[in-house]
Symmetry: C2
Subunit: 325 residues, 2 copies
């Protein structure tokens, strides 16, 4: 049997993790032959709830779950970790300025970055979920220079999946028929859902779906879907966010389907003219546990303009936190 993978999850007693942990332990994220050790980090006041989550994980008798570590100490949580799902972040409180939110979360991710740099596996695969996810990942990366920087990513797979659903629903096709969806940029309302390279079955999506819907409905619907879920549910997406995390890490480790790609926010290498180092969502294919940014796609002026806006937002976020790296 394979040796267990150490998976750290932060914010482990929260709602997203209640939907996430059980699916990791069942083998959905890393495969049915891969034992895991769950290293669960929470803030001190949430430890009692976290202990109850651990009781329920035990009560599932998962053969792949070799150990559960619960802790409020990041040094313990990240020790020798191979995978980190950074779900915890400070939410925006009433009357709080966006810049304050950025700085507060920047502080958290800068100090976690320093810890990870010291105690984790240097090839640790990181997926940042807590918002502002891309900039939190950027700050983490700058504070963790020993780590393989390629492996510090942020989640846009939920947006990607939302975009696929919208196109399947609009065109009356099955989910499995919609391929090559792309989310560019920041995981925020400036994100750029792009179906211009997508196929529906064997046909180009653009030959089936009219451009007016794409520009005026599709893009804002996907970009603002998080808000729509909050309005309907009374709280933010949890199970669907957890599912995006499972998909992100599953495909990164186990590979993307042939003839398709997924969206991941990864450190820009300058592809498509994006400022190097920014954590920017790109279409990627995955194989042998690594990702490759899809190259050579033709980008329309309309999409290019939106990508620039999203890039500008990421630069502004970065500069707001420049004292943290």
């Amino acid at each position: 049997m394979k040796s267990p993978v150490r998976v750290v999850i932060t914010g482990a007693a929260g709602q997203i993790c209640y939907s996430l942990l059980f699916r990791i332990a069942s083998g959905e994220m890393l495969g049915q032959d891969q034992p895991v050790i769950l290293q669960l980090l929470e803030i001190t006041p949430a430890m009692k709830v976290l202990d109850a989550v651990a009781m329920e994980l035990n009560d599932c008798a998962y053969p792949l779950l070799h150990e559960i570590i619960t802790t409020d100490d990041p040094v313990v949580a990240f020790k020798d970790a191979n995978v980190a799902l950074m779900v915890g972040a400070k939410p925006r409180g009433p009357g709080m300025e966006r810049a304050d939110l950025l700085k507060d979360n920047g502080q958290i991710f800068s100090s976690l970055g320093k810890v990870i740099n010291e105690v984790a596996d240097e090839n640790i695969r990181i997926c940042v979920v807590g918002n502002p996810a891309n900039t939190n990942a950027y700050i983490l990366a700058k504070n963790a220079p020993k780590l393989n920087q390629r492996n510090i990513t942020a989640l846009t797979r939920l947006d990607h999946n939302r975009a696929i659903y919208q196109v399947a629903e609009k065109s009356g096709n099955r989910i499995a028929d919609v391929t090559k969806m792309t989310i560019w940029g920041n995981h925020s309302t400036t994100q750029v859902p792009d179906l211009s390279h997508s196929n529906i079955g064997a046909e180009a999506a653009t030959s089936i779906i009219d451009n007016d819907w794409t520009e005026n409905d599709f893009i804002p619907t996907v970009a603002k879907r998080g808000g729509a879920v909050i309005a309907a549910r009374g709280s933010s997406s949890a199970a669907s966010a957890a599912n995006g995390i499972i998909d992100h890490m599953h495909d990164w480790v186990l590979g993307t389907a042939k003839g398709d790609w997924v969206s991941m926010a990864v450190p820009s290498d300058g592809s498509y003219g994006v400022t190097e180092g920014l954590i920017f969502s790109y279409p990627v294919t995955c194989e042998n546990g690594d990702y490759t940014i899809v190259q050579g796609l033709e980008i329309s002026d309309f999409i290019q303009g939106k990508m620039k806006e999203s890039e500008a937002e990421l630069i502004e976020e970065r500069d707001t936190c420049s004292d943290l790296f």
Copy 2:
């Protein structure tokens, strides 16, 4: 591709289902090659929350999820259904007598039984989860004479999994090493967790674990674990209950592991001297989509006495609701 299976879930906007639906849609319950149609039933006041759950299911872009039906009409929910997970039930309110709870839920399951009898696939596989699960299943069965009565079951897999964990933890072994666990009887505090036929690796559990612990710790810990989770978590088991449901239906449809068995509450055929027709938890093996009660196990006087107590409780529950069938 296989034709989709129609899976009804009642109480679909509740906490257990929020942990359950996403795992069914991902293929964990019926297999990665089995499309599903989710037919989600709720009471009218919960329809808004249910619609939000459906939004999030869509936002996962599950290739196997062919359709979602949300309704407050049981006739719509159970139409042509192949699998039913009966999660919804009325909880015990403050100052409510147990007999009143039995009767209120009996009413619900008797009227649902009549609907299922008319509109569902007659070979529908039913797993009752809402408490008192065994007696609710009994009442449902009596009101649905056209259905294959063998296929009306109740959930004790959560108890089974809890028992496995306790034995693995106590003996310092892995979950996968503990086999042939049994839960006998009612899914209540009279349930009988029985490790007397269990193995730990190649050895009999009884040769490793002392009898005093088994009788005085193991049995009450497993039987009262639901209460311990409520005390720790502030609400009842949700994700672990959902996991038990997944396991119950997965193994029933896709088979149990060779050399092992699981626990399911099924209509008694008189095996082990239990009154025929009672929905009683037994050790079962599953193959070709059907279950077989494990025969010929030697039962100690101690366990036999406890099984009789649990049987007596089931008879009393049945008789309290005798006006409903």
